[in-house]
């Protein structure tokens, strides 16, 4: 501990600094639009970077205090937000090992991504709007991380969804981007629906939203197992939506329509791991629930990891390779949680944030040079873009789990936990490790090796186009180099037990397991898998080994099914939305409303009119006349009754 205990105001500043930059940029943009106020685009970028830098420093201080407290929660009192009878809702900040690490991950990656964005988004007509949304996202994400109550977490959970929607659809003139934004929000909302029910359920049973209190009550056995099952399954559903796990993963690949720094920050390093964070945050409740719940968590994660890794193999768009890789790696983290690998999951979240952000920013740098994400149009870029190339390879090695890079250590811890818990999950983990190395090096060989295949024309309004790709400007190259450092070194935290100690500090003492002991076979399997993956990738994609085509031919219809994403998008978009909802339910409801409900009403109207035809001559047909007659009638009735007394009626 280098500094004194962090004051609560400083912790709040982590959250409010980007809130302030969001508001300032929005106000500036509106004032510019309405009053011609001279709000320069460049200010938006600077404000955002400044705000997030402040958050970063404050988060470091919080981490420092958290280390001093052995990862246990610092005692901050929550504040009343809403008090409506029993509905007593408080908002507070909770700093413990888990949230402090997350806050540092979010602020540091966000800071580098914003610096990178200054170069990447240069000259875009929505430059200032972009930074307003990025500030909004960072604020919401930090609100989610620091939340001390489950409702507060849910509120920010939805707000990061909003920011994600706005940023995926940032280039709203592209129909594909607008559609992807909508899809992301709606698909995740299915998970949020269950999450909301879980929040309501647990509040109904415990009368509190406080995360710590709920976990304590769950551990103390104060909640019936059916309540705990409902609660944790609701949370798991929320996590499946937000963290793009099967079957709600279908939104994430489409979300790559957003600007690449957005993919790096939101759809790789931070927001999509919010589901992992949620399960970790509520981990005592999961442990208190019947064991089948955690088994389900583990198998959802393992299945997703495998499914997405296969999809990663057949993509031709470099960002989609990374997107499926992200789904797969988050599956790894979810698997880890399911096998009680609480620390391993968070450790992998931590290392993954850096190397995956690095890879995404690298793909953005490639796109900056070639104006395409299609790897079939790239090739040979290593000689044109040495910084991008070297850092990308570092990220890929780390992701593949090659010793001694960061990814090796965190992946190894997950495999160790899986080995102890369930051998089948361990095998799945090793297969995924092999495939991860395979698809990553396939991407590297397609992108950086061989001959340059020409790229694409830039979209109007972007940078000038030169026939030769070139290295990106320093504002983009610098974050790549910085991110390469933790991608290599972050694994060193695994050497001592400090990291484990810090993360486990946020759990109640009886749930802490300490570090798993090393198993030689696990380490060996993981290393062999990674190296084999790289080797196969080189054989197939670099040296074009003819055996590979023979293998591909033997697979029959399988590659086709994989290329069509197992028909899951078809199932969701065509079968469920178009056939069942649009053509089925909506159509039926519409016909019912028009030809049954409304027809009955109109029928009554017609019948009344026919009956009234005889009386018509007595009336002029004016509504005014009807209404006044009506009033006169009422007055007469009242007066008559008043004069004669109530007896008349009650008799």
């Amino acid at each position: 501990m280098l500094l004194g205990q962090v004051p609560e105001a400083v912790v709040w500043a982590i959250y409010f600094a980007p809130v302030a930059s969001t508001l300032l940029i929005t106000a500036g943009l509106i004032a510019r639009r309405l009053f011609g106020f001279a709000f320069h685009d460049a200010w938006a970028g600077r404000l955002t970077i400044l705000a997030i830098f402040i958050s970063f420093l404050a988060a470091l201080w919080a981490l420092d205090s958290s280390i001093g407290a052995d990862g246990e929660a610092l005692g901050f009192e929550p504040h009343l937000w809403l008090n409506l009878f029993d509905l007593h809702i408080e908002m507070g900040v909770r700093i413990d090992g888990l949230s402090a690490i997350m806050a540092v991950v979010v602020t540091s990656v966000s800071l580098l991504v914003q610096i990178y964005s200054v170069g990447y988004m240069h000259g875009d007509s929505g430059y200032a709007r972009y930074f307003a949304f990025m500030s909004l996202f960072t604020a919401a994400m930090l609100g989610l991380v620091l939340a001390s109550s489950l409702l507060q977490l849910f509120v920010h959970w939805e707000l990061v969804g909003l920011a994600s929607y706005l940023l995926i659809g940032f280039w709203f003139h592209r129909p594909s981007a607008a559609a992807a934004a909508k899809k992301a929000f709606i698909v995740t909302r299915f998970g949020d629906f269950a999450f909301l029910l879980a929040v309501l359920l647990i509040f109904g049973k415990t009368g509190t939203f406080d995360i710590h209190e709920i976990n304590e009550l769950a551990l103390a056995g104060a909640l019936s197992s059916s309540v705990l099952v409902g609660f944790t399954l609701g949370l798991l559903s929320g996590a499946i939506g937000k963290s793009a796990q099967f079957p709600l993963h279908i939104w994430l690949p489409d979300a790559m329509e957003g600007p690449t720094p957005v993919s790096a920050l939101i759809h790789a390093a931070t927001m999509v791991v919010a589901g992992v964070y949620l399960i970790a945050r509520m981990f005592p409740s999961f442990e208190a629930a019947p064991a089948e719940v955690l088994d389900l968590v583990a198998y959802v994660g393992g299945f997703t990891a495998l499914l997405a890794a296969v999809l990663g193999l057949v993509q031709t768009d470099i960002k989609r390779v990374l997107a499926y890789s992200t789904i797969s790696q988050i599956g790894y983290m979810v698997l880890a949680l399911g096998v009680l690998g609480y620390v391993a999951a968070i450790f992998h979240l931590f290392t993954h944030a850096f190397f995956k952000a690095l890879l995404f920013l690298g793909s953005g740098s490639v796109n900056h040079a070639t104006h395409t994400f299609d790897m079939r149009r790239m090739g040979g870029l290593r000689s044109y873009m040495p910084i991008t190339y070297v850092t990308f390879v570092i990220g890929a090695l780390s992701l593949s789990g090659v010793f001694p890079l960061a990814g090796f250590w965190s992946k190894d811890e997950i495999l160790l936990d899986a080995w102890k818990y369930d051998k089948l999950l361990f095998v799945i983990g090793v297969i995924v490790a092999f495939m991860t190395a395979l698809y990553m090096f396939r991407a590297i060989f397609m992108t950086f090796w061989g001959e340059y295949r020409g790229g694409e024309e830039p979209e109007a309004g972007h940078d000038d186009f030169s026939t030769h790709p070139h290295e990106s400007p320093p504002s983009m190259a610098f974050p790549l180099m910085i991110l390469a450092v933790p991608a290599v070194l972050a694994g060193l935290f695994a050497l001592g037990s400090d990291f484990t100690h810090l993360i486990e500090g946020s759990l109640p003492a009886e749930l802490r397991h300490g570090k798993p002991s090393i198993e030689g076979i696990v380490v060996a399997a993981s290393l062999v898998a990674a190296l084999a993956g790289i080797g196969v990738a080189a054989a197939v994609y670099l040296y074009r080994n003819p055996a590979s085509e023979a293998v591909a031919a033997r697979l029959g219809p399988l590659p086709g099914i994989v290329e069509r994403k197992y028909y899951l998008d078809f199932l969701a978009e065509t079968v469920v939305v178009r056939w069942i909802l649009n053509a089925g339910l909506q159509r039926i409801a519409d016909l019912f409303d028009r030809y049954v409900v409304d027809a009955i009403v109109n029928g009554i109207g017609t019948a009344t009119r026919l009956a009234g035809d005889g009386l018509r001559r007595a009336e002029a047909g004016y509504v005014q006349a009807y209404t006044s007659l009506f009033f006169i009638g009422i007055v007469i009735a009242v007066v008559v009754v008043a004069l004669l007394g109530t007896d008349v009626v009650s008799r």
Partner: protein, 490 residues
Amino acid sequence: MLSVFVFLPAVGALLIATLPRHRTADARWIALFFSAITFILGIVIFARLDHAAEGYQLVDHFEWIRAGDTGFAVQYVLGVDGLSAPLVLLTGLLGLASVLVSWRIELRVKEYFAWLLLLETSVAGVFTSLDLIQFFFFWELELLPMYMLISIWGSGRPRYSAMKFLLFTMAGSALMLAGFLVLGLQAGTFDIAALTANPPAEALVPLSIVFWLIIAAFLVKLPVFPVHTWLPDAHTDAPTAVSVMLAGVLLKMGGYGILRIVLPILPGEAQDFRVILAAIAAFSVIYGAILTLQQRDLKRLVAYSSVSHMGYVLLGVSAMGAAGLSGAALQMFSHGVITGLLFIVVGVMYDRTHTRQISDMSGLLHQMPLLGLVAIIAGFAALGLPALSGFVAEFAVFAGSLQAHPAATIISVFGVVLAAGYILWAVQRVFTGPADERWSGLGDATEWYELAAMAAMLVFIIGVGVYPRLLTDVVELGIEPIALIVQAAA
């Protein structure tokens, strides 16, 4: 002060009606002046509500016919409490907004603004009347300006829609009047406070029939399935300002009536039929949302979404507990500002594009970034995004109803997924996509009256969303006595 609040718009209406022909243009300014003062009064009434006091406040009272002679009094009595104060504020806000969005009306300007102001008076009267007969008077008074405004200044099939609106409401109110008379004659008073304190234990006809007689009128007004079909027609054909008033405050008369009259006076019957009410509510939420997905006309889309959203009000009521009832009251306010704003947005767009067909529009964000921003905020508020007012209200409803009606609540919560579907689908179709040649000359919403109306609504949507205690402390004050009565009857 309450009498001034209620009748000030009517005074403005009279003044406009007596304007000489050559001063017709002044009608706008007079309407603006009177509705602005009314809004300010509404804020003052809301802010000055004493949070420590019990019962009705700021009561204005005199008797037309004294009780001594006849057995019951025919009286004039106005008052507010925590239930009506937010609706008083809402009436002032939307009254002002509806004048602002009518700024470009050119047809029969004098009459238009006179009717609009009279409408405000009648709604304000409903929310503050503490006597059943007087309540009924204002309830019926609202029909006249509504009929005129829709049939003269409407579009499409205005006469059909106006008549449909009129017939539905009158059918309901005839039943309501019968119910009121039974109650009042039995108890010897039409005073709501007295009836609440000593509700009749039996009457001429079984109280359960009285319950359905009265609540029928309110369910039509909310509206819920199966008595909702007047709403889309009335909305689609009404001018913008009338849609704003209709969705914003007129629908709330239904929810208000249930909370003010049905629950306190007939709590036992309400408890008996709670399951039926919950079923109607859940069905309306989902049915309304599915129909909303089907709409191709922006205004009909917003109108059908109201059927879905007002289902939440009934769901909160059917839970018969403090949290659910508060949620219902919050949802009424919140839906009022959110849907009011959505109708303003549609109106502003219609002024420029002269179409409401979603298929005609695309990429409007290129021409109208500011209006698009407002539309997106209003849209996300409608789909229940936290930090905007709709979330607090819906959350309170769900928190209140989950224990009482688990199945109905789970079904209703699914409404938020469907809401995301129709809102985001509409935003995508209307605002995103490449810039459309056809709309290249379109201007953004930059007129002062449009901006003022939208900004006023946004202040409340965001203010209540971020800091709900602005509203909830007052609502709690109003709901508490009702919740006690209802729970005692369980």
